[in-house]
């Protein structure tokens, strides 16, 4: 039996696995594959947070991350010669702020839409951003984007080297995930769950449902921005490709693969996605990655309603019924 506190907090195991991973993984696995999975996972976390707590779906999270990415790019030294250079903490702060504001804007514009319509209006906003940045050359350098961006050197640690970068991505991912899990247990989290269950009731109780919803989008925007900042450093550049419709679809695919009803599904989905990206190619044919991802996606949607996290939950219940969650078991006892 694993120690008690691990049973009570199974997520600590995941964090531990993340911390220990560099001991077994090669530089490529740590600095490129795992770091990328963490970044994509963080961006997708913004979506699974929205869906699992507030019941909102959004196609715009890649775009929101892109707003942060572009802000960072424009405020950092780059070889494209656009923007203004400021100290990196300031640039990161501004990026997170702008991304959060972008999230708020998405929430505000789409406030009257829900379900499939919400998906479409957020897709439209995301695509609008794509056209804005790809057609504006003065600020965003259009189609070519902004190049030569680098993660800073902090206290002598070069954050663009694989291991430090991985450490940074892991820290950001763990903190974001912890924040989401924590929020879930606060009154604010409960209020968001309430919004998902019965928005009419939420208003009738005296909550400003619109504000609640917009704040949820803001929080998601912040998380997406964390991913966006890391992603910009990771690719060393920012271009419209990061906010195009494929990027939006990919993020949704990641979230659905992992299970959109559990916040941490985002990371499961991201790991799967990145592994498929690197290995599916060698299974069938180097160019047929999309075929594999498409088929896997269909299978997940058809047969695993809650994605991989749902499957794992089922498996857990199957292996050890006592793990169904102490809470419910307790109530049963109490009620009996």
């Amino acid at each position: 039996m694993p120690p008690r506190f691990l049973v009570r907090h199974p997520y600590l195991l995941l964090v531990l696995a993340g911390v220990l991973f560099p001991l077994v993984g090669s530089e490529f696995w740590v600095g490129t594959v795992a770091a990328r999975a963490l970044i994509i996972g963080t961006m997708a976390l913004s979506l699974t947070f929205l869906t699992s707590t507030a019941g909102l779906v959004s196609f715009a999270q890649a775009g929101v991350a892109g707003v942060a990415g572009y802000t960072l790019a424009l405020l950092s030294p780059n070889v494209t010669g656009v923007g203004v250079e400021v100290a990196w903490p300031l640039a990161v702060g501004a990026a997170l702020l702008m991304g959060t504001l972008a999230g708020v804007l998405v929430g505000w514009v789409s406030v009257r839409s829900s379900g499939i319509y919400l998906l479409m209006i957020t897709l439209a906003m995301s695509v609008s951003l794509f056209y804005l940045v790809s057609q504006n050359t003065e600020v965003f350098n259009g189609f070519d984007g902004i190049n030569g961006l680098k993660a800073p050197v902090v206290w002598g640690i070069d954050l663009r080297a694989p291991l430090p970068f991985y450490g940074m991505a892991l820290t950001a991912a763990v903190l974001s995930a912890a924040a989401v899990l924590y929020l879930d247990r606060t009154p604010f989290g409960s209020q968001l769950h309430a919004l998902r269950n019965a928005p009419r009731r939420v208003s009738a109780l005296g909550f400003n449902a619109v504000a609640l919803r917009i704040v949820a989008f803001g929080v998601a925007g912040f998380i997406a921005s964390v991913g966006g900042v890391l992603n910009t450093w990771f690719s060393g550049q920012m271009s419209p490709g990061a906010v195009d419709v494929h990027a939006a679809v990919n993020l949704l695919v990641v979230a659905v693969l992992g299970g959109i009803r559990h916040p941490l599904g985002a990371f499961l989905g991201a790991i799967t996605f990145v592994l498929l990206e690197n290995y599916a190619a060698s299974v069938i044919d180097r160019e047929r990655f999309n075929l594999v991802i498409g088929v896997v996606f269909i299978v997940i949607v058809l047969f695993a309603k809650d994605g991989l996290s749902g499957l794992i939950n089922q498996l857990r219940v199957h292996l050890n019924p006592a793990w169904t969650g102490g809470r419910r078991a307790k109530t049963r006892r109490k009620a009996a």
């Binding site: 789409s110 998906l119 209006i121 906003m125 609008s128 504006n136 075929l291 498409g294 949607v301």
Partner: protein
């Protein structure tokens, strides 16, 4: 003057093409409440299949018909295999069609490669039709406008003047009661799905003749269909027509006067409509 007439004709052409694609998309949504994100893939599939049939048989018209039939069949298969099992879960339906679109797009790329295909329409269609003021206008583009008018009129007649149309409208209004009156609604749904998919295939041949066929067109026409029906109102034929016109004009006039932000303009138009009237201009709300 000539310039503005030309611009308007271009806008009409683009609007016609958008309408052709979006009408099927809207039809499917209207009755089935399914947002078929594979509609763009259907368009591209129709274009390629039509191209193959047309170049093999030497008949453009056969390509047109063949593409419509083939894509309708693929649509039916997708509906029966993937959509039916999901019941009324709109979100999962949209997701599964995204997956299907990814698969179809990749298979098409694998088979047809990345080169650009263009139909060889009958000589009568390839060339210029003389017209007053603007002197001449490409015949194929007039064909596009005409086909949109014909298909639009045909759909209108189908929906408002035929028994099947009555069934479709009744099904949109109240599916349950229609089935309780003894009609096999599932069959009507299938028929409509096939019709909508077939329209995408047909549009693929027409669009592939007026423009060209290449990878990436699937996403482009899916997006345009989404924008058109969102602006016009999901499930409304008139809405699709109005939406297509608005987008067509915004896009072409934008391209002529503010080329750098032409596409952005159409999306801003859509966001504006959605923020004010989430159900679209003609949508029921």
């Amino acid at each position: 003057m000539r310039f503005y007439i030309l611009l308007s004709l271009n806008a009409l052409t683009v609007a016609s093409l958008y309408f052709l694609v979006a009408s099927g998309f809207s039809l499917i949504f209207g009755l089935l409440r399914t947002v078929n994100m594979a509609h763009g893939a259907f368009y591209l599939l129709g274009a390629y299949v039509g191209y193959d049939i047309a170049s093999y048989s030497g008949s453009w018209v056969l390509g047109l018909v063949g593409a419509a039939v083939a894509v309708a069949a693929v649509g039916l298969a997708m509906h029966q295999l993937l959509l039916r099992t999901l019941g009324n879960d709109e979100l999962r339906q949209a997701l599964v069609t995204i997956g299907f679109a990814i698969v179809v797009g990749d298979l098409l790329l694998a088979h047809y490669g990345g080169i650009t295909y263009q139909f060889t329409p009958p000589d009568a269609l390839y060339g210029t039709t003389p017209m007053p003021v603007v002197k001449g206008y490409p015949t194929i583009r007039i064909v596009v406008i005409a086909s949109a008018l014909i298909i639009g009129l045909g759909l209108w007649l189908l929906i408002h003047k035929t028994r099947l149309g009555m069934l479709i409208r009744a099904g949109v209004d109240d599916r349950d009661i229609l089935s309780a009156m003894g009609f096999n609604v599932q069959r009507v749904l299938l028929l409509v799905f096939a019709l909508g998919a077939g329209l995408a295939g047909l549009a693929g041949v027409i669009g592939g003749s007026a423009l060209s066929i290449s990878p990436g067109e699937d996403a482009r026409f899916l997006l345009s269909s989404l924008v058109v029906v969102i602006v016009g109102g999901m499930g409304s034929l008139a809405g699709a027509a109005l939406g297509a016109l608005l987008i067509g004009f915004a896009e072409q006039f934008g391209l002529a006067f503010i080329p750098n932000y032409a596409t952005l303009l159409t999306f801003l138009l859509m966001i504006a409509v959605l923020a004010v009237r989430p159900q679209g201009l003609f949508g029921r709300g």
